[in-house]
């Protein structure tokens, strides 16, 4: 029920009603973009945005930098584990 799916906005279809076309893995559908438009981010600026689509609404822009940072934490965790494993083996 509460799940969403990432898609990219490829065109504005109705600026007045805040409707845009989104591409979700090749499937195209119209979505409402009211949640991602603001004074700082105009309707036109939404083209190219990666968004989370839920029940026909672009609910949130996906922050690419934050996604990379989350994955980076896991990379680093793996490196620390490797080093600790090597250290323990050195003691043996």
């Amino acid at each position: 029920m509460c799940l969403g799916i990432p898609g990219q906005i490829i065109a504005i279809t109705d600026a007045e009603r805040l409707l845009a076309k989104v591409d979700i893995s090749g499937v195209k559908r119209e979505v409402n973009i009211a949640c991602i438009v603001s004074d700082e981010h105009s309707v036109e600026q939404c083209i190219g945005d990666w968004v989370l689509v839920h029940v026909g609404f672009a609910m949130s822009r996906i922050d690419e930098d934050e996604a990379a940072r989350t994955l980076q934490v896991l990379e680093e965790l793996g490196e620390v584990q490797e080093e600790l494993d090597a250290m323990l083996q050195g003691v043996r």
Partner: protein
């Protein structure tokens, strides 16, 4: 798929599983019972079962599958109301597909459709509004259900209907709120939870701060969590770190989606259209204060409860159901007397057997009904 595949990486899952086992081992001497961590949201329950995450966890960590499945917790009386609305010959009743199979006291929406009611499954409330545009001689009702994640879509659709002067569209509002529900779980005397994975898409709308009380007042660790397997594992690791360090704060694992203050346009639309109900009835949990919203008087013309006669009968849960105890982690699904026998996915008696996002149905579908006999 971008932003999905990266968060299903098996190598990183192994790294996280190792880290989780390590903390669990450190914590073991201090524990008198297994640590119980609740994922509130049915979407998380779905991911946990789909990727076998429970099997990756050490024995001293138990997942408790919470009540955050809006379809599951829908009381039978509300389903009866839907059927009654849908059986009006002038009405096209629209709903998300998930709600079709939920049993009412007499029938489900699926059975009502088979009996001739005009009931249509829609992906979006905007699709329901389109139906209203195309069928000016019919009354189109959209069955609005779900937590704050889905609330903005209903609110925006009502606002759009108002702007366009569409008079044959209305919302049957059954939206529910997350915070009072978590609070009801926390206030229950037999609650034994140690930490929470908070629903990421609810937080996307309402932000981080509404969850503060869980850390500040109840001293439970809580992490706002995404929906891919790495999100769940990373959040579990973060919760365990908090427990190990004796901290309880709201942390946000799902920063790629969740802003600290939530989504302003969505919150504005919600507060424009909806107001808090004094209480709302839940299947399995009874009545919870302030746990639902209704439409404001200004939108009475778009409110199915005002436009039509809704029977609004209260139908008690079957006495044999122990959903409430399962949801609070007091018993396991297979400890319930009717699990897998009188209550099964085909003929659900209790809330948690209704949808695949419910804990009992998830266990049943994964072969755990054998466990009861073992």
């Amino acid at each position: 798929m971008k932003f999905v595949d990266e968060f299903r990486d098996t190598e990183k899952a192994t790294i996280l599983t190792k880290a989780i086992h390590k903390i669990a081992k450190n914590l073991e001497p201090k524990l008198t019972k297994p640590l119980q961590i609740m994922e509130f949201c049915g979407g998380h329950t779905h991911t946990i079962f789909r990727y076998g995450i429970e099997q990756m966890l050490p024995d001293n960590i138990e997942m408790v599958h919470g009540p955050g499945c809006p379809v599951c917790v829908l009381p039978m009386g509300r389903v009866d109301d839907c059927v009654s609305l849908a059986e009006n010959p002038d009405v096209i009743f629209t709903t998300f597909g998930d709600a079709m199979r939920v049993p009412g006291s007499k029938k489900s929406l699926l059975q009502a459709k088979a009996d001739g009611a005009d009931i249509r499954m829609t992906y979006s409330p905007m699709d329901a509004l389109n139906l209203a545009r195309k069928n000016p001689n019919k009354e189109v009702i959209f069955f609005g259900l779900g937590f704050e994640t889905t609330m903005p879509s209903s609110a925006f659709t009502v606002l759009q209907a108002e702007r366009e002067g569409i008079t044959n569209f209305s919302l049957f509002c059954n939206h529910i709120t997350t915070v009072p529900t978590i609070k009801a779980v926390l206030d229950s005397p037999d609650m034994q939870l140690d930490g929470f994975l908070a629903p990421g898409h609810v937080a996307m709308v309402i932000g981080e701060r509404p969850f503060d009380f869980i850390a500040l007042d109840y001293h439970k660790s809580i992490v706002i969590t995404g929906f891919e397997p790495l999100d769940i594992l990373q959040s579990l690791w973060m919760v365990l770190q908090q427990i190990e360090q004796d901290r309880s704060v709201v942390e946000n694992q799902y920063k790629r989606i969740v802003q600290p203050n939530g989504n302003t346009p969505a919150l504005e639309a919600i507060s424009q259209v909806f107001e808090i109900r004094e209480f709302f009835e839940w299947r399995g949990l009874g009545s919870i204060d302030h746990s639902g919203v209704r439409m404001k008087e200004a939108y009475a013309n778009f409110d199915a409860e005002k436009k039509f006669a809704v029977p609004n009968l209260k139908i008690a849960d079957p006495k044999s159901c122990q959903c409430g105890e399962v949801v609070k982690g007091v018993i396991k699904p297979w400890d319930c007397k009717i699990f897998g026998s009188k209550c099964n996915p085909e003929f659900p008696m209790g809330a948690l057997m209704v949808s695949s996002e419910g804990a009992c149905a998830a266990y049943f579908n994964n072969g755990y009904h054998e466990k009861k006999r073992a």
